[in-house]
Symmetry: C3
Subunit: 406 residues, 3 copies
């Protein structure tokens, strides 16, 4: 889009206030969001535990794009799920196992690493070496696989350098995905992220959550709370707060943060009664009444307890449709039914996410009014407000990461 309309909207934004309505339903803004953020930055695609064997694959799908994340003989690969012949989707199941990637249309077959292996009747004049499946960048941090559509991706090592140590202590790489749910939310992705970024709404909206979790509080008390939390964290061998978040992210997808906060009322984990629902993770010998919060990129949020971790990923489908994928991770060796029961494991965040879906959709309806004017953020919405500042900077910024040929 011509830059001016965005400039006008950016200018229209009153500092300390929410975004003008246009950012939540303008189709050109949405395409800009995709180009500047989602197609330019690192996106969480899955956990290594989901691809135990060579040939195991899963699909990453976002805004009409589909990527095959596969474990090849040579390691993990991300390949565009589009045949180089006529453009058909190759893999059609969300997860699977394959020796080769064979297009169901005309039978062109590709190695797990993407090279074209067979294409009947294709002229010898055609250079097959140039017809492998398009590679998408892939990297890993503590068992978390990330992909990047950019032609020149931001250097992932920066993220690993900043966050690797902190995440290692929790043994993230030694977990497995016990369960995962996709929640379809009829709202713009930013309303969903803003909702995740503040707990001002927890008291009125999340009864279950509020029982065991400290509600976000004014900035000063919040820092206090984190001081105590960091004590507990230190004693448990965890890192201190890492705050490289938002505004100082050098490039798309390198935003990150890591922090702790104490649980309340004798709760030691995020469950209905606050008691453990799975075996302890990492090197913990005993549960610690702590929640560890982290974030990798603008749309992946993690919550680590003593016995399990929860990952929250927000992916846009269209300007007013977002998929929130929630994954519950437990120690790799834990056996369902014996060491943990799914209903108890997922209860808290399934309940909370269903509540959020409703809230966020009602928010989208409201900001669509011609007469909506953004209101002021409160002191309990510091992170939502920072997200908005970060977003405007990123949206407005030059971006050299967009894939070649776009």
């Amino acid at each position: 889009m011509s830059k001016s309309p965005v400039d006008a909207l950016v200018a229209a934004r009153k500092s300390g206030h929410g975004l003008p309505a246009g950012f939540y339903h303008d189709a050109e803004i949405f395409e800009r969001d995709l180009q500047q953020i989602f197609l330019a930055g690192w996106q969480y695609a899955g956990h290594v535990s989901q691809l135990p064997k060579i040939g195991d694959y899963l699909l990453f799908e976002m805004a009409g794009e589909s990527v095959i994340v596969v474990r090849s003989e040579a390691g993990y690969r991300a390949l565009l799920n589009v045949c180089r012949h006529r453009g058909s989707r190759i893999c059609q199941q969300q997860q699977g196992q394959a020796k080769r990637l064979v297009c169901p249309y005309h039978g062109w077959s590709y190695a797990l690493s993407g090279e074209l292996l067979a294409a009947a009747e294709l002229s010898d004049e055609v250079d097959r070496s140039r017809l492998g499946l398009k590679r998408v960048a892939l990297d890993e941090i503590e068992g978390l696989l990330f992909i990047n559509f950019a032609a020149k991706p931001s250097p992932f090592r920066i993220l690993r350098h900043r966050m690797g140590g902190a995440l290692k202590a929790h043994g993230l790489a030694d977990l497995k995905v016990a369960h995962s749910i996709d929640y379809s939310i009829n709202a713009n992705w930013k309303l969903a992220v803003e909702n995740y970024c503040e707990c001002y709404h927890c008291r009125p909206s999340h009864k279950a959550y509020s029982k065991g979790h400290q509600l976000a509080v004014p900035r000063d008390q919040w820092l206090e709370g984190q001081a105590q939390a960091n004590q507990l964290a230190k004693a448990s061998g965890f890192s201190q707060m890492v705050d490289g978040t938002w505004l100082n992210a050098p490039k798309a997808g390198l935003e990150c943060q890591y922090a702790h906060y104490p649980l309340v009322n004798g709760h030691v984990t995020g469950s209905e009664d606050g008691q453990p629902v799975a075996p302890l993770i990492g090197s913990l010998q005993a549960p610690v009444a702590l929640a560890t919060d982290f974030q990798l990129g603008p749309n992946l949020f993690g919550l680590i307890y003593s016995d399990h971790a929860v990952l929250y990923r927000f992916l846009p489908v269209s300007v007013a449709e977002t998929v929130c994928q929630v994954s519950w991770l437990v120690r790799a060796g834990a056996r369902e039914g014996q060491d943990y029961a799914l209903p108890k494991l997922i209860w808290l965040w399934d309940t909370t996410t269903r509540e959020d879906k409703t809230i966020i959709e009602q928010n989208q309806l409201g900001v669509s009014s011609r007469y909506y004017r953004p209101g002021p953020f409160t002191s309990m919405e510091v992170f939502a407000s920072r997200f908005v500042d970060w977003y405007l900077a990123r949206l407005d910024g030059q971006n050299h990461d967009v894939i070649a040929g776009r």
Copy 2:
């Protein structure tokens, strides 16, 4: 939109003929319709009988807008259903009862009159007196509540002055809404109104209706019929014909008319057998074989019989989607099951409206053809033709009523 495309379409219209196709499916024309007519004029929102107690509210919803019409200690109020904090919808039920209007998202609470009462952790530097729910103008005529989104609404007193006396004689303020149905019609709102404005289609399309109602007839006979009707009306203490309709409406929402026509074949009301289906209304001592027709604004039509009234409201949802709300009103004290039976009360107009829904949707399909050319109106379509003339004048006209900030 730039004015020229509309000018071109207006110019393309052949007088005495229907509207060119563009007016029924062009998205920019639709937005113009909203700005010049629906968001600039007075809209029927409900009947006082629906809000008997302080705290009772109902929602008015149109083209993505939602307004809370509530009975406060200080009287009826219309408030934009959008929280001043993050923009969430506040009331989510179509009707309800509340002591305060509390946003379900972050708990901001508002008085029934709209003032902001509580907003936790909101900085004291923020002027709360400026954060009340946005008021939408509201006024009343004989129990009928109207709202207006305009910053400077047209003076409603003009409408009350013109129509108040005529409506009073029928005791509209002393009725109650016995039943209401929303019919979703997949067609542009103008095709729905044009359909209501002529009875040329009644003979082929409405068998039930035609049994008891005089079909529209050529202009001269029509005036004859009204002469007789006015005799009956006079005897019953009703007003004579009031015709301030369409073209001479000074501003948006002030269009009006009021007229009578005789029922036929010994029918005294609009029911399957033509016999009363509810207690007499107003000051009538005996049924009178008369139908009284009135209109307030471009999209509210009323039909008054001796024993009940029917209100027809057309509201646009999108360029090719309209909601027709039909309400049946009876004397306030009448008891369902004893004084009236719903099935008999609603039979005629429920049947007729279902027939019209099909007709109008087939009309939308036809005018969407690239080869459709508007045809000539007949002498039995005088009012539809006048509606079209009025519409073009209104659409084209300058409009100083649009809400501030738009």
Copy 3:
């Protein structure tokens, strides 16, 4: 649309490769497709056997247009299914019988030949002779009825001259439509036609089809196969190959071709076991192991066996939605249940078309990727490649055929 965007896309196309993605999802390109191809050329509308009696009609529907194809006293007629009064659809059933065409809205009635017969209360000043239903051009070749929306249609006699003789030998005019199915495909019409134009995909995708049909093969072997086929054809009194297809079509709708290929493995028709499923057609005394392939216009394909014929028609609904109508024709006098059984008759092409629907939809998903780049056609995709060349020439070409007033 301004021509330049198309020029850019045309320029972007690499010869010997598929079309750039824009051609499959750009709304302006789609409107261009309609104007240059579907609304400008001849479209197959039905077979004379579907309209045995005067007053029998069927509807032709495409991209929002609806045409009544009716058998009048004066012969077959194609009439726009839009009333000249208010624009309502007149016929609402896909097939029917009528003495007159009466609009259900206001009762205007038209003769089967389109003249306006009755319009109550229409002013005498209006010239009724100018208010007949809009005629759409109609012509016939061997029992196949074609219509054309153009104001100055391409001369159909050219098509009849080229193809009439070839089709006559198969007795197409003496067949009847035994069954017809509309398959809704969520993809652009061109992906559906490209799929029909090549059999490179038959081996991987169509097990059933491949049992009895020669798979398309490299150009040279293909010509060999046709040589043999032409021998068989000659012996059976059929014409030799007629190839007037694509590039040398003088005007929209006159594209055509006619060819034969031998069936394999002792199959003599297109059925599950390769044995006849209906009485022999045309003047055949014995089955011949031959499939005869023909095409009339860009989107009607025919396949003629010794005992039945199959017609394939592709019509666009929207840029990414196409209806593929498959019709099975048998000798007119054949009696269902005695001379043929529907399940056996339709089995092969119903199975194959369901497979193609899936393939084509997966293709549409893939080409919608921002990173899709067209790949090279193989030697087994000669006809798909020729279709693409033809399409670009037609899309780009001047077109004097568009209906008056457009």
